[in-house]
């Protein structure tokens, strides 16, 4: 019996090797200007 279903996600440890390009959008510019959420952003270099 499979007790655990793992969803497909971006591996953060892997992203340490190839992330950091800095091209992603500044979160606060996106919509709300008061309570930004970095997690609501998308990588622009996937």
């Amino acid at each position: 019996m499979k007790h655990i279903q793992t969803l497909e996600t971006r591996n953060l440890c892997e992203s340490a090797k190839n992330g950091g390009c800095g091209e992603c959008q500044t979160s606060c510019q996106s919509a709300c200007k008061t309570s930004c959420g970095i997690a609501n952003q998308q990588c622009e270099n996937t």
Partner: protein, 461 residues
């Protein structure tokens, strides 16, 4: 570190440092909770005692579950240690002196007189002013000169009410476009407006040039008109809603957000979301008011209980409408599990004071729009650049590990330590923590991840 929670009929386990998301059954949910503190024998005994009346939970089954947990741990998808602190300053160090985003305050004045406005009716506690083309042009030149190898540059036209200086906005966009090719850059413009001055000319321009428009609407007419009034005290809802509808209809598939604020007057903000949907808007952002605790619009502890419930009901509504083929977007529930930000971004935060700055109508630079008007945060100006290196260094070193309270928080790699301005206004330090905001943020993340998990289940069904 892991975080377990139950929502939407699902048992969800987050592995914070790998970013993994697991959907688990009751047995696995309990076993994962005990895994780090108890021995295998003790966990097995506890499970058999708790689920002894269930035929499908046998000792062999519990053992199998234990092995699945071990496999995930060994694969780096459960109980992943936090090894990121040494790279906390890496992104900012790598991009030192690189600026890629400006909030252009083209108008420190407004045609509305909203009492809850963080910018003191657009004046930012100073004089009324409009930015000249010359100052704006210098700001764009400053951005181009300091943008390093960045290709995407972002400029938000902000205020006050930016459409009170619409001619300059148009001139600045034309100037920026004229420099794109020679500089190898791409400008993404956004416009934040209260809607009063929207006409056909604005609609054509915004829908041609703006990557995103942010339209201020608080939802229900009586809620909106409580705060969003003109200087004669008249509400603005009747004037702006038809204009917003016309702009959005003409906008096609280009991005926009209806951006509302909920306050002590409407912690039941789901009714305002519903109102926006009834008006035909589907891209929504509804945010808690940010103000001093004693302010009449401030959320109380009782309000926050209601807000937390509303967030869950909002997630249920989104799920229901998506399954009915009538989806809508809520900004803070947008989360891309496979294409979200890298660890550098998650550690380093929004970039305020380093790669993101606000420019006043006089050309002064501030760490972001929420610090404008507070002289001690003035960084410099668009002619001489950053001269207050002490303040900039403070922001450069502001990352998730700079907040002691965040070290044991499961949400730290989703919020990146939170908003520096909110922290400063709540605690007097950009390294502080705006605790009331944290609780709401965590609830939003739980709901957002639940929605993504349900999407994955629906796709696999």
């Amino acid at each position: 570190m892991i975080h377990r929670y139950k929502l939407g009929g699902m048992n969800i386990v987050l592995d914070i440092c790998s970013g993994s998301v697991h959907l688990v059954d009751e047995v696995a949910y309990d076993m994962i909770g005990l895994f780090e503190a108890e021995s295998r024998e003790a966990i097995t005994a506890a499970m058999l005692e708790k689920y002894g009346d269930r035929e499908d939970v046998t000792e062999a089954d519990v053992n199998e579950c234990y092995e699945q947990i071990e496999e995930l741990r060994d694969a780096g998808k459960l109980f992943t240690p936090d090894t990121f602190e040494p790279m906390a300053g890496a992104l900012k160090a790598k991009s030192a002196n690189v600026v890629k985003a400006l909030c252009l305050h083209v108008a420190h004045t407004c045609n509305l007189n909203c009492s809850y406005c963080f910018a003191s009716q657009g004046k930012y506690h100073g004089d009324r002013a409009l930015m000249s083309f010359e100052v704006g042009k210098q700001a764009l030149d400053f951005l181009l000169e300091h943008s390093g190898t960045r290709h995407n540059l972002e400029v938000d036209f902000f205020g006050g009410e930016p459409l009170m200086n619409f001619d300059v906005v148009k001139q600045l966009v034309a100037y920026a476009r004229s420099r794109e090719k020679e500089c190898g850059k791409h400008f993404r413009f956004t416009l934040t407006t209260n809607g009063v001055l929207i006409d056909d000319d604005v609609i054509d321009f915004a829908n041609r040039e703006m990557s995103n428009v942010v339209l201020s609407l608080d939802g229900r007419k009586e809620v909106h008109d409580r705060y969003r009034v003109d200087y004669a005290g008249n509400g603005s809802w009747d004037r702006i809603v038809p204009k917003f509808q016309k702009l959005v209809k003409a906008r096609g598939n280009k991005a926009y957000y209806m951006r509302g604020t909920f306050t002590h007057a409407n912690p039941d903000f789901l009714k305002d979301i519903q109102q926006m949907l009834d008006l035909g808007f589907t891209e929504l952002s509804m945010e808690p008011v940010v103000c001093a605790p004693g302010d009449p619009s401030a959320l109380t502890d009782e309000d926050r209980v209601i807000v937390m419930e509303q967030y869950e009901k909002l997630a249920e509504l989104m799920l229901e409408r998506r399954r009915a083929g009538k989806p809508f977007t809520f900004y803070h529930y947008m989360i891309d599990l496979t294409g979200g930000p890298c660890i550098y971004k998650r550690i380093s935060g929004c970039g305020s004071g380093t790669e993101y700055m606000a420019v006043t109508p006089w050309g002064d630079l501030y760490p972001c729009h929420q610090f404008v008007g507070d002289e001690k945060f003035r960084l410099g100006d668009v002619w001489t650049g950053v001269t207050n290196t002490e303040i900039q260094a403070d922001f450069a070193s502001c990352n998730v590990y700079a907040h002691p309270e965040c070290r044991d928080c499961w949400a730290r790699l989703y919020c990146s330590g939170g908003c520096a301005a909110n922290a400063y206004h709540a605690t007097g330090s950009v390294r502080g923590v705006y605790k009331e905001g944290c609780e709401l943020f965590k609830k939003r993340m739980e709901c957002a991840i639940m929605l993504e998990a349900s999407k994955a289940l629906d796709n696999n069904a």
